[in-house]
């Protein structure tokens, strides 16, 4: 992996979104990944619809939570994702109103990624932002800087929040992951969370995945 990488500066990441009072982080994590994959394969950055997943992914549970792996299947089975403009976010479940004619992106498959953070970094630099799930310990009060909670406080087994890895690097010799969150820009560093990289902190390496666009 290169020593640092940031997909934001390469135009592969849409603006930070806000999930509101709804446990829909899984949908934001997945659309962020598909946005990146589509940009890398087709050269166009489109902001994609989370609401489509809330309404039409019947395996997941909308605001009560969901899993990225199920969401990829739903996108594949539905026939793609509409854009944010065409199917805008409401923050609560509605009747599914997906229209195949309005779908602007599709995916062919999804893959699980390595648990080795060095390999994850290499994958990210070459192939794009990665959907991951983490233990959200301390995030309620996070403001800035690189978080590195003690392992017993932030167990990799208690995963409860899905986010998007968009880059990595070092700040004053401290390695970090740059993480796009979905709690608006008035949280963290303009909506981003920085987490220590290299020791599986908060389970960042346990549930990494990506869509595949051929």
């Amino acid at each position: 992996a290169p020593p640092e990488w940031d997909w934001r500066s390469k135009g592969a990441v849409t603006k930070v979104k806000d999930q509101g009072m709804c446990g829909s982080c899984w949908a934001f994590s997945v659309t962020g990944n598909v946005e990146g994959q589509w940009f890398l394969k087709r050269g166009t950055l489109l902001s994609l619809s989370e609401q489509e997943l809330l309404d039409c992914d019947k395996v997941d549970k909308a605001c009560l939570g969901g899993l990225p792996s199920n969401a990829y299947s739903a996108i594949k089975n539905l026939g793609g994702l509409e854009t944010e403009d065409d199917y805008s976010y409401q923050g609560h479940m509605q009747a599914c109103s997906f229209s195949a004619q309005k779908a602007r992106v599709y995916i062919n498959d999804s893959v699980e990624l390595s648990r080795n953070e060095q390999r994850l970094a290499a994958w990210l630099a070459k192939r794009g932002p990665i959907s991951v799930a983490i233990n959200a310990f301390g995030m309620q009060f996070y403001r800035r800087g690189i978080a590195h909670p003690l392992r017993p406080l932030c167990s990799p087994w208690l995963i409860d929040h899905a986010v998007l890895l968009v880059g990595y690097g070092n700040r004053s010799a401290t390695p970090f992951w740059a993480i796009k969150n979905s709690w608006g820009t008035d949280w963290g560093e303009e909506g981003y969370y920085y987490l220590y990289r290299g020791s599986g902190v908060c389970g960042v390496n346990t549930m990494a995945s990506s869509a595949v666009v051929n």
Binding site: A133, H148, W183
Partner: protein
């Protein structure tokens, strides 16, 4: 854990019962009684609660006493006769008039007759100690809270609700300090837009418990990235 304080301290900060809270409480009771025969259903006793609104959703946090019907058959009784009063905590989410019970936590409570002859519930809730704050500290905290409300455009429906949120806010500042002290990186923790939420509320509204509890679809492993 925060020091235990008499629940009455907190209860005063809660909203008195209004039809909206009662509606949520009745929904929680309906869920509680689901599957029970008519004669075996619990009934609502005292109810208190608070509501947090955002967008088109309202989250009700309720405390209620439920009276279980007298049980005459010992082999099927869930509770001994002397413990027929339950204290329940409920969280009910209302989105566009559709209710959802997010949390239900009930346990028996001891009741006893006090000197004035009224039946009073004796129980405790971990929370911020009223006496643990000096007056000076309280004033400073209130000022910081005002700033928080201004920054994040927060309004509360009543003075009682605001007082309750202030106590949550103060407790959260202490939690943030502890997290700060235990962090090994360069992160700074402190006041955020979620600082007026209890940990439970934050988890319920914003996090995703399914990530650790459900297996999900099987995916195949990605090929490693080759050396360019």
């Amino acid at each position: 854990p925060a020091p235990a304080q008499p629940r009455a301290v907190v209860a005063r900060a809660w909203r008195p019962l209004d039809p909206e809270l009662l509606g949520a409480a009745r929904f929680a009771l309906k869920m509680y009684n689901q599957g029970r025969a008519a004669g075996a259903q619990a009934v609502l006793g005292a109810v208190q609660g608070r509501v947090r609104r955002e967008g088109q959703g309202s989250l009700y946090t309720l405390e209620a006493t439920l009276e279980e019907p007298q049980c005459h058959e010992p082999t099927v009784c869930q509770l001994p006769v002397s413990r027929k009063t339950l204290l329940c905590s409920f969280q009910v989410l209302d989105e566009l008039g559709k209710h959802m019970l997010l949390r239900r936590d009930c346990g028996p409570v001891e009741t006893r007759v006090t000197d004035d002859g009224n039946e009073t519930l004796k129980y405790v809730l971990p929370g911020l100690g009223r006496n643990s704050l000096s007056q000076d500290f309280s004033v400073k905290m209130a000022s910081i809270f005002q700033k928080f409300m201004h920054t994040y455009n927060r309004t509360y429906e009543s003075k009682e609700e605001a007082e309750w949120r202030l106590s949550v806010f103060a407790s959260n500042l202490m939690r943030a300090q502890k997290i700060q002290a235990l962090d090994r990186g360069t992160a700074q923790y402190g006041i955020t837009k979620f600082s007026d939420l209890t940990e439970e509320e934050f988890r319920t509204i914003y996090l995703n418990p399914l990530l650790q509890s459900e297996p999900g679809q099987k995916m195949h492993m990605a090929k490693s990235v080759e050396d360019p």
